[in-house]
């Protein structure tokens, strides 16, 4: 462990710098970036080799972003990545340029969305936004739709965070739900979801909660009816019900774990007091040794 061998190459240093940046806790990108910048001590190398990690971090974290022409925030994710630092907002049919360091949107423009998927996408977006209103005080929902090879794929992303650096803590929840089904609807499809929570507490310490859960459920896809959005709305209703139930069950299970961890696991690691129910008599502790020495003398 003490022998660290030969110095590493610039390429390896930049890889380490990127990895550190990708692991910044929610709300602490700037602090981690500044630490890494001073440790690497080579701004050109950092810009050249690690700027990909700035974008990757924002996409991984489902970073919410304010754009012109929308009351709702939009999430920066890999599914909306149009290349050249431009991202899609399917809700307002716009694309925008995103500055990954300043975390700002500019150059908003109208954008095309997949027409075939749009009725399903917007129904699910409306339904999940209503779910968001009921369960996420400060949450953001972005739903993507695309058609390919006769199939429609809908990917829904939900994000909610709380930053309180003055109180030395930050937290974020992210969930992503996807389903693929034939364009015309009908039949059943598999709705897969992943829910992740990360919490960082750092007053005189570093405590982090990292959790994730995968979900698979069957979703009934209503058959598309001409000149009506009833089937899309019905499917969206069921989609949201699965999401509500799964996320609520998950939150409940986390709460139960907390209880078991504190009542059972933690208690078994260290007692509050010895069985005597009083603190230790230290003179007695060192006295015992003398006593046994005398016995053996």
């Amino acid at each position: 462990m003490a022998d660290f061998g030969d110095p590493i190459s610039d390429k390896q240093k930049v890889a380490i710098a990127s990895d550190f940046i990708l692991h910044a806790p929610p709300g602490e990108f700037n602090e981690v970036f500044n630490d890494v910048r001073i440790l690497l001590n080579d701004d050109d190398l950092l810009k050249e080799g690690a700027s990909g990690s700035f974008a990757q971090y924002n996409k991984d974290q489902f970073t919410p972003c304010k754009i012109k022409g929308s009351d709702e925030l939009v999430l920066v994710t890999e599914h909306g990545d149009l290349g050249g630092s431009r991202f899609l907002d399917p809700r307002t049919k716009q694309s925008f340029k995103y500055d990954h360091l300043r975390k700002e949107a500019t150059e908003e423009q109208p954008a095309k969305v997949d027409a075939g998927a749009e009725p399903w996408r917007s129904a699910i977006e409306a339904s999940l936004t209503a779910y968001r209103d009921q369960h996420y005080k400060q949450g953001v929902v972005t739903v993507y739709g695309k058609s390919s090879g006769g199939n429609t794929t809908i990917i829904a992303c939900i994000e909610s965070h709380q930053y309180q650096p003055k109180n030395f803590w930050n937290g974020r929840l992210r969930s992503q739900w996807s389903v693929t089904f034939p364009e015309s609807g009908g039949g059943k499809a598999e709705l897969t979801g992943v829910i992740k929570v990360q919490v960082h507490y750092y007053e005189d310490g570093n405590v982090q909660l990292v959790t994730s859960k995968e979900v698979k459920q069957t979703l009934n896809i209503s058959k598309h009816e001409k000149k009506s959005t009833k089937s899309e709305e019905q499917t969206a209703k069921e989609f949201s019900k699965i999401v509500v139930d799964a996320e609520s069950d998950y939150q409940k299970a986390i709460g139960e774990n907390y209880l078991t961890m504190s009542d059972t696991t933690f208690k078994a690691l260290r007692r509050q007091l010895p069985v005597t129910r009083t603190k230790i008599d230290w003179n007695k502790i060192i006295g015992y040794k003398i006593g046994s020495e005398l016995k053996n003398a």
Partner: protein, 272 residues
């Protein structure tokens, strides 16, 4: 440089503690000149080694390391063996043996299991030491838990020899992991650090081990309470703040009902 060390330590407070060892290795690769400073100031989960001579376990840390070898507090020898490994002075070794015996009992009374080790080293006007304790849970209820204590004490003996100044810096690491169907993978881990200083009389009735023992015991009891509050109170509350289990519309209705009731009651008492 000092600024780089500050940044490295800040980074270690932000990166997920679940990867402390990897983070530390990467950090040292990134800035090799900080190697010794980082190894001595970043706490890592304690590793256990076996003293084959005496058949007893002991804990590894930077304070009993010399090169790639570690010193056992039981046999006072290095593994792998060293010709000229750093050893405490004879007087200090006597105290170290007594300290290990005392804290072995402390460990048994509070932890009912686990491993402990105490290492001392000489200072100009006193001595310093580290008291280590490691306790792993039995994995019941499908939850893996582990506790690591690292107490570093600095003792400045006053020239009269009848009192001393004690400075204690304690870090407790607590690791909890579970993987179950309903809750997926849940990993709650990290550490808290506290510091305390005090003067105390040194006498036959109140020798160093008694003074240090009391400080460590009080400190660990305090930290245990704080760990309980932070891990199972604070972080849980933060999760509940990210998503509301009860539909917010229902909460608004509850709040409105509460306000209506309060208004009606105050109207009634005003009328009386």
């Amino acid at each position: 440089s000092d600024q780089q060390l500050d940044c490295a330590l800040d980074l270690m407070r932000r990166l997920p503690p679940q990867q402390i060892e990897k983070n530390l290795t990467d950090l040292i690769d990134l800035v090799p000149t900080l190697c010794e400073d980082l190894l001595s100031s970043v706490d890592q989960p304690l590793k256990i080694a076996r003293d084959k001579q005496l058949g007893k376990d002991y804990l590894l840390c930077d304070y009993n390391r010399d090169g790639d070898s570690y010193r056992s507090p039981w046999s006072n020898t290095y593994d792998p063996p060293l010709d000229d490994g750093t050893l405490p002075s004879d007087r200090l070794r006597k105290l170290e043996i007594d300290a290990n015996t005392a804290f072995d009992q402390y460990r048994e009374m509070y932890f009912e299991g686990g491993v402990s080790s105490v290492y001392l080293w000489d200072l100009d006007h006193g001595f310093a030491g580290v008291i280590l304790i490691k306790k792993a849970g039995d994995g019941s209820k499908k939850i893996k838990g582990c506790w690591d204590s690292i107490h570093v004490v600095e003792v400045q003996e006053k020239s009269s020899g009848r009192s001393a100044h004690y400075k204690l810096t304690s870090t407790v690491m607590l690791w909890l992991q579970t993987s179950k169907d309903a809750s997926g993978v849940m990993n709650l881990g990290g550490s808290l650090t506290r510091q305390v200083e005090q003067d105390a009389t040194v006498s036959d009735a109140s020798p160093h081990i008694v003074n240090i023992g009391k400080m460590v015991e009080d400190m660990e009891n305090k930290i245990r309470n704080t760990l309980n509050e932070i891990y199972f109170g604070k972080t849980r509350d933060i999760v509940y703040g990210l998503r509301s289990f009860i539909p917010l519309g229902d909460m608004k209705k509850q709040d409105a009902l509460r306000n209506d009731l309060a208004a009606a009651l105050s109207k009634r008492s005003a009328a009386q």
